[in-house]
Symmetry: C2
Subunit: 666 residues, 2 copies
């Protein structure tokens, strides 16, 4: 299974050599080691929620004290990779993914299929023979809400309707919690987040209705597997891709998208700014199992040859419709960049660093008016609700360095984003709020607290933040520190940063490094929040580590390939993967072996004694006992120090009589 | 200068091909780009404190609004690389580094040079012909305190004596603060740490006398450049090196040490466990500009063929003297692993993971007694004070996974380490305390708070902590998150973790990745604490970024080579390094250019207006004003919204009349 392949049909126009592409295709579709795609059926047969099942080996028998042949049940992990990792599905990039949501959308009877694209630009491109050879071949007619209808998940939620998407998400977020065998987990500090152990469809509906969570899934992107972004759900991550004026082809972007979702990207933003943006986007959406976000102003700017002040509402509006009908699931819209905030950035060290923010600032200065994003905000809502495109209200005035963090321009814009959230909610349009940026650790929480307050708990979606400016080349790390912290404080989705941030365009390795780094930040946040069951994977991997089940340790890791490769650099032989020693210490001495002796020893002590605190020694340390983890205090027995002494002496004799053997034969 | 080379003589026994070694030697001694080694003289000519001077280019003239030809003064950074980056010094690894502290030690007149090594093992090895070919050729006779004398820096400090080492450190920690031109920095949250803007020798003396900081410098390691570890100084990092039973040669370890200090390691721990530990250590110490730490129990264990229960106080004592006379600056000693704590680890998921801790646990169980490290602790202090070796009291019961964090075994041991700290201080022996390990973010602060309380503010020295267990292969990142946070809370030194942690032995790349990642964590902590001047480097780099001074941006980075390399992947041409656009956006559009337009615009507004808040809009938002950064509120003018409107209209006309040019010619 773990090496099973399946064919992958590729775009005719691909500009890469077959061999490289075929190898890449294998990379993109190979099952992860010891992993199998499984689906959990919901209340109806067409609700099939994917998960990755990781098969674990049994605990070894013989040899060491605790090696008892115990069966270790398979472990299930949240899976964003779509059917690319399902060997039973043949991938045809030229046709796109199966449309799993199509039936649900039709059933609701509130949408209609249009005769054709309704944006001028979309029609223009469809007629353009120059792009025919790179165009996606099977473009469906777009779907739109019937006149007067509102097709957003928020609208349904507020009507009390539980959609199949909501049920799908409930199953997905629950992650087979109830089947976990190792439920050990420490209490977290959630800062007001509140996640039930089992996520019900009703809980999902209620969170969406309240605006605390969004389900980005445009009715024109039926290929997407429903997912949710909200403080009371698993912390999500986004990966940015997109070609630029400096190159990168459609193939590369589609492959980056697939690569990113393989490693755990929950959503993808297509930030293309080069040529053929429209065609590139079509290819990405048709083949993407996760929601796609864009920044429409980027494309609008291309349409006016990069002259910001030439932008108009009409051009922007047509761009929104063009992209909504392709199936973009959320739009970053910098409607909070108001004329009065622009001069507040003048004394900054790095001014305005958001592209969208500076485009709008430029427009505001030139026309000396509030931007059309702000003045036409309700018109934008009218478009969004006909396709169920969610807002990602952009932080156009986010700080570009530590010095500019948390300033008036940034917080002034945030307040306006909070006001616009209320307007969007009036239309039942889903909203999340974008956040910084570059912020020192001690000033991160202020961002989260203000966002929750000003934006009425709409989901926060932050870029990092970077906690120092001095490490270009390592900004995936400078930002992961801030991302983990703000995720803990309540951010719902973390936008990844790659090692190339500030320096260049990320390649495939950079994308993977960014993804894994952000999966770490998101999971560290889930753990600190006390998200139910979050620690189960840590426990399973640690148990495998302790029992020298090397392969299980690799297979449970966020990146099994790298873990295995690093291990093999030091201990190449397969035999070593079942070796009872760590590659650090070598065969002669290993602390874990000794720990097993300690366990045998303690196991022989009088019942209840093994975790006795050092009696008189500690009992007078009120402050210590007070500090000690309650779960552990719960296990403390009542034996006296004398009893412990006695038990220990017995064990000492037994231990010595058995020849004080440090290493027993396997 | 930046490519200047100097010769480097190499060990005769080296087991690598000349070519590779010579290339490596160049790697190890090449000056960093645009950097020059400078020395600041203290109150006497033989106090010469090294710093790295980074030359910056001028702000460009013409073209953009704020490009005014401004001179950007050179930037000075703390430099741990020793004379390896000083082209005026020829390196001879076979002779070792210059002994810069020798005269200071002699002057004090409280030490004597012995006739020879006083440890049995040291003498044995000196006589061993089998190791003659790999032995360091110029071993000096060891130095020891005269009978009844105490030669620790803490002892001097408590006598009110300011040593040259203390003055050296005061200059080094001050980092030319008073010469900084950009003093902009946000207030930090120090959690009780208290660092003056200018560090005086008296402040250093007082911190050492109080035990809040240590100066690890054995009188037998006069080559080391004095440095300090304490909560009220810059956060430091340690890099572990050392060969193991699985290989790695002396050359490789010496080169790893040099490589680690080149990138910023403040101390090095030699954790060698393989053969020739003694000889390897000699080579490392003689050539190390930073303090060297060891875990003597590792070597003691080798002496009893890995059978922990065969360890004796006599063997351990001889090992301490052997290593003290070689010049080891601090010893990790796991004296807190008491018999009564061992059973507390039995119910753990991963038991005891510290090698030293498990060795001692094994010994305790076998003998059913408290360990000789505990029962002979005062004897150990007597040895330490004759050479000025500092204690690093080991956390032998640190958690090996999140589940085991903050438990009774860990905190019980911590309490004992606090008691031992008092004993060591009674002898004026310097002490730092080792800490975990694996801890979820929400449980990190408890570790710091308890350590400060139980150990009377002795410096804390932590490994990470790792904030999740699920990313083997990326544990430099899982741990950097925890390291940055605990550094912020008050940890004085962070022990690095490499990507190979749990998997294998780090190679040169892993060492560098670990170092840079930990420099990031330490600096992020300094920033969050509000360490005086910490933000200056961030500001200088951000200013260079904003002004498109690409080379300055690279040269100010923690890793200039990688930053430049990543940039060149996208924009290879040198021309691009002076290009007025970022590699992300390309030549057509750049947000920073627009920001410059905004500045020109704001600059033309009526005085005091440019940073006016949006008057009525914000003034009723008491909570916002309340939250806003005080530095910035300080700049807010009083102009009314009408005045702003008027000013803006004028500017709008001016802007348009000038042809609304987005890009002016350079």
């Amino acid at each position: 299974m773990s090496n099973e392949q399946h064919t992958i049909k590729t775009p005719a126009h691909r500009n890469v050599e077959d061999e490289r592409f075929d190898e890449e295709a294998r990379d993109l579709t190979r099952s992860l080691p010891a992993s199998r795609k499984v689906y959990i059926e919901g209340s109806r047969p067409d609700i099939q929620v994917p998960m990755r099942e990781i098969t674990l080996t049994d605990t070894p028998t013989g040899g060491f004290g605790l090696e008892n042949g115990e069966k270790n049940p398979p472990f299930y992990v949240y899976d964003t990779s779509g059917v690319y990792t399902d060997p039973s599905v043949d991938i045809d990039l030229t046709k796109g993914l199966p449309k799993l949501r199509e039936k649900w959308i039709e059933e609701r009877g509130d949408t209609e299929v249009l005769d054709g694209l309704s944006s001028n630009y979309g029609q223009e491109r469809a007629r353009d023979i120059k792009t025919a050879n790179i165009r996606f071949a099977h473009i469906d007619k777009p779907r739109r809400a019937k006149a007067g209808k509102n097709v957003t998940q928020m609208h349904y939620a507020r009507q009390g309707i539980i959609t199949p998407e909501m049920e799908y998400i409930a199953i997905r977020e629950t992650q087979k919690q109830h089947e976990l065998t190792d439920m050990r987990q420490h209490a977290g500090e959630s800062f007001g987040a509140n996640t039930p152990k089992i996520i019900t469809p009703e809980f999902v509906r209620d969170e969406v209705a309240a605006g605390r969570a969004i389900i980005p899934n445009n009715i024109n992107h039926p290929e997407s597997e429903p997912m949710i972004i909200g403080r009371n759900f698993l912390v999500k991550i986004n990966a940015n891709i997109g070609n630029s004026a400096l190159g990168s082809s459609i193939d590369e972007e589609v492959s980056k998208m697939t690569w990113a979702t393989r490693w755990g990207a929950d959503t993808i933003m297509d930030l293309s700014t080069g040529k053929n943006i429209h065609e590139t986007r079509e290819w990405i959406i048709r083949n993407s199992p996760v929601p796609i976000g864009t920044v429409p102003i980027y494309q609008a700017l291309e349409k006016v040859d990069g002259v910001a002040e030439d932008l108009t509402w009409e051009i922007f509006r047509d761009t929104l419709i063009e992209q909504a009908e392709q199936g973009v699931d959320y739009f970053t819209i910098h409607a909070g960049v108001l004329l009065r905030y622009v001069p507040l950035t003048a004394k900054r060290l790095t001014g305005i660093v958001s592209r969208g923010g500076s485009i709008m600032a430029q427009w505001c200065l030139a026309h000396h008016k509030e931007s059309f994003l702000y003045t036409h905000f309700e018109d934008i809502c009218e478009i969004m609700k006909q396709y169920d495109v969610a807002f990602s209200l952009g932080d156009g005035l986010r700080p570009g360095c530590l010095q500019d963090a948390n300033d008036e321009a940034q917080f002034g814009e945030l307040k306006t984003l909070g006001e616009l959230t209320q307007v969007a909610w009036k239309h039942d349009v889903q909203v999340m709020i974008e956040g910084p940026g570059h912020v020192a650790m001690n000033r991160i929480k202020e961002n989260m607290d203000l966002q929750l307050e000003m934006c009425s708990e709409a989901p926060f979606y932050t870029l990092g933040p970077l906690t120092t400016d001095i490490a270009p080349g390592y900004d995936h790390i400078t930002s992961a520190i801030g991302a983990a912290m703000i995720g803990w404080f309540g951010t719902a989705m973390l936008c990844y940063v790659t090692p190339k941030e500030h320096l260049g365009l990320p390649n495939k390795k950079d994308v993977k490094d960014g993804i894994i780094t952000y999966k770490i930040a998101a999971h560290a946040a889930d753990l600190a929040k006390g998200h139910p069951g979050a620690q189960a994977r840590d426990n399973a991997l640690s148990k495998a580590r302790f029992e020298f089940r090397w392969d299980d340790q690799f297979n449970l890791a966020l990146d099994p390939d790298t873990a295995r490769e690093y291990h093999d650099e030091t201990l190449p032989k397969d035999a070593h993967k079942s070796a009872h020693f760590c590659s650090m210490c070598g065969p002669k001495f290993c602390s874990m072996k000794i720990t097993q002796n300690v366990r045998e020893y303690a196991a022989g002590l009088p019942t209840g004694v093994e975790v006795t605190p050092s009696s008189g020694e500690l009992s007078d340390e009120v402050h210590l006992i007070k500090e000690v983890d309650t779960e552990l205090v719960g296990q403390v027995g009542e034996a006296s120090f004398e009893e412990v002494q006695k038990g220990m002496e017995q064990m000492s004799e037994k231990y010595n009589s058995e020849g004080r053997q440090l290493y027993k034969e396997v």
